[in-house]
Symmetry: C2
Subunit: 341 residues, 2 copies
C-alpha cells in the first residue's frame, strides 16, 4: 500500500522546509546567499525528500546541458576508446556528461549541428576526419561558431581549435633512436601521404637522416596503407633486394608487425638481422614477437586536453574567437624489436 511516489520537485522540498522554491534553488546553486539557519533547514529537506534536480528543466532554463558530444568514426577501435576514456575522465572532473556518437546518419554535419542546437550538448569533440568542420560551423560568413575541438590527423582549417600530436618530431625521434643504436643503413615504410599529418612522419624521418648525414636510399623508402598486408608486401620488397637496411622505421605498428612476420618466414630475424620501430603503440605491440619498440601516441592525453579545451571554450574561460592549437608529444617505448647495429 505504498503511495505512488513521484520524483520530488523543488516545490516539494520547499514545502517541506517551509520556504519558497526560489530559496531552495539558491541553497543549491549559491549557498552563501542564504542564511545559515534556512540553509540547513533546506538541506535537511533535500535529503529527507531524496530530491534530485531535474536536468531537463534546468537545461531549458539555463540554455545549457552540461554535456559534451564526442564524435568518432568507430568506438570499437582501441584508439578511439582510449581517447574516450580520457574524455570521460576530464569531463566528469568538471561536472560534464559525455554523449558518444558514431552513427551520424545521412548528413553528418547537420546531424551534429542539430545536436548542439537542440540543447542536448554544449560542445563537440570531433575525432572523425571525414567530417567537414566548415559545414558544422555554418557557412563562413555568418554567426558565432559552435564550441568545437577537433583532434584527428588532418586539420585543414586553422580556425578550428585542435589537439594534435607532433608527428614530425615523433618520427624524427624514432629515427634518431635507430641512429643512436649505430645503424646507418635505415629504411622507411611510409604512411599514406594523402594525409598531411601522416606525411609529417616521412618529413621527420628525412630530417633526422639528413641531420645525421645519412643517405636516404630510394629503394628502402616504401609506401604502405597502414595495414598488415602492406607490411608483408614491404617485407617481400626488402627480401628481393641484394642489399638490405639494418633498421626500418615503420609509419605504424600494423605494418611493422607485417614486415617482421614476413621476414621471419624467410629466416631474416628481428632484431638480429633487422631492427624495426613502429608508431602508435597499439595494444598488440607489446604482445608481438618480438615485442615491438614504437612511438606511443598519448591517446588519453589527447582526450583530456581536447575535453578541457572544449569546456574552457564553453564556459568562456578561453575566448572563442582565437583558435587554440595544442600539440602533444609521442613517447618512445623501448621493447625488443630494436638493438645495437
Amino acid at each position: 500500500m505504498v503511495p505512488i511516489r513521484k520524483t520530488p520537485t523543488i516545490q516539494d522540498v520547499a514545502r517541506q522546509a517551509n520556504v519558497s522554491a526560489a530559496t531552495v534553488s539558491r541553497v543549491l546553486s549559491s549557498p552563501d546567499r542564504v542564511s545559515k539557519t534556512t540553509r540547513e533547514r533546506v538541506q535537511a529537506a533535500v535529503s529527507a525528500t531524496g530530491y534530485t534536480i531535474n536536468q531537463a528543466a534546468r537545461s531549458l532554463r539555463l540554455r545549457n546541458a552540461r554535456t559534451i558530444l564526442m564524435a568518432a568514426p568507430n568506438i570499437g577501435n582501441p584508439y578511439y576508446s582510449t581517447v574516450l576514456d580520457g574524455v570521460i575522465r576530464a569531463a566528469s572532473e568538471r561536472g560534464y556528461s559525455v554523449l558518444v556518437a558514431t552513427r551520424l546518419g545521412q548528413d553528418p554535419n547537420r546531424w551534429l549541428a542539430d545536436y548542439l542546437h537542440s540543447n542536448r550538448a554544449d560542445g563537440l569533440l570531433l575525432f572523425d576526419g571525414s567530417l567537414d568542420t566548415f559545414g558544422i560551423n555554418g557557412s563562413d560568413e555568418e554567426g558565432p561558431n559552435l564550441p568545437l575541438v577537433a583532434a584527428y590527423d588532418e586539420i585543414p582549417d586553422p580556425r578550428v581549435n585542435s589537439v594534435l600530436v607532433d608527428n614530425r618530431a615523433a618520427a624524427a625521434r624514432a629515427t634518431r633512436h635507430l641512429i643512436e643504436l649505430g645503424h646507418t643503413r635505415i629504411g622507411h615504410l611510409m604512411s599514406p601521404s594523402r594525409n598531411k599529418s601522416l606525411h609529417e612522419r616521412r618529413i621527420g624521418f628525412e630530417q633526422a637522416m639528413q641531420e645525421a648525414g645519412l643517405p636516404i636510399r630510394p629503394e628502402w623508402m616504401m609506401q604502405g596503407d597502414h595495414s598488415l598486408g602492406t607490411g608483408i608486401a614491404a617485407g617481400e620488397h626488402l627480401l628481393a633486394q641484394s642489399e638490405r637496411p639494418t633498421a626500418l622505421f615503420c609509419g605504424n605498428d600494423e605494418m611493422a608487425i607485417g614486415v617482421v612476420h614476413r621476414l621471419r618466414l624467410a629466416g631474416v630475424e628481428c632484431p638480429r638481422d633487422l631492427s624495426v620501430i613502429g608508431f602508435d603503440d597499439i595494444a598488440v605491440a607489446a604482445f608481438a614477437a618480438p615485442p615491438l619498440t614504437t612511438m606511443r601516441q598519448p591517446r588519453e592525453d589527447i582526450g583530456r586536453f581536447a575535453t578541457n579545451t572544449l569546456i574552457d571554450i564553453i564556459e568562456g574561460v578561453i575566448p572563442a574567437d582565437e583558435p587554440v592549437h595544442v600539440t602533444l608529444r609521442a613517447e618512445l617505448v623501448l621493447r625488443e624489436s630494436t638493438r645495437r647495429a
Copy 2:
C-alpha cells in the same frame, strides 16, 4: 551587420507558416493529423528557419530523454568498447542517444539513480559487476524499478534483466574441440572461481570431459587470475611435470598467451607439443604467435541485445515486472594454436 540569430523555436516556425505552434508540433509528431496543405507549408517553414526541436523542453514536457546511460568500469578496455559499439548502433537505430559513464563518484548507486531521476537518461545499461543492483533499484519493498539491464559475468539477482553469455556451453564446446582433434590428455587453466559465471567455464570443461569418458587429472587443473603472469606460472607448473597434457583449455586468452610464451622458452612448441585454446578472442589473439584458437564472446551482440531489451522496457514493449534473461552463445574461432593429436 547580420542580426544576431537565435536558434529558432517552434513559435518562429509557426509565425513563418501562419499557423499555431500546436500545428507545427503536430506536423512534427503526427503528420497525418494535419491537412496536406498546411503540412507542406509547415515543413517548408521548418527548413526555411532551420528549426531544430529543443530537446530540453521536450524532455521536460514528455518526462523522458530518449537517452540511455551505459555504465562500465573502464571504457579503455577493448571488451567494453566493443560492447559500446553495439550499444551505440542499436540505440541510434531506435533514435536514442548514449551517455557513457565510468567515473561514478563516491556513491555509485546513488549517482546512477540520480541520473535517471534527473531526467537525463531513461534507462541504464550496467556493465560493471562491482555495482550493486539492489542499491540502484531502491530498497526491495518500495516503488517501481528503474529501467535497467545488467550484462556482466556475475548476475546475483534474478529480478534484474540480464544479457549473458552461456559460459558453460562455451567451455564445453572448447573442450570438445580438443577432444575432436583426438586429444585425450587435456588440462585446464581455470578462471578465478569467485565469479559464478567464470566458474561455469570450469563446469563446462568437466562436463565435456566426463561425457567423453576422459579423466580429469588434478595436476593438470591449474588456477589463474586471468593475467598473462598466471599463464606463465601455469607454463612453469606444466614444465615441472614428468607427464604433460597434449592439449590445454585456458579460461581466457591472456593466460593462454602466457602459457604458450613460457613453454616456447623451454622448447615446448605450440601447437606441435601442446594444443592451446583460449577464451574471449581479444584483439591480440589473432596476432599472437601462433594465432590463438579461442571462443569468441559476442561482445557487440551483448551490447545490441542489452540495448534493445532496455529500450523495449522503457517503451513498455516488454512488461517491466517480468525480468528478461537473454543468453548468448560464444563462437569457436579456429586459428593455429590447436591441431590434431
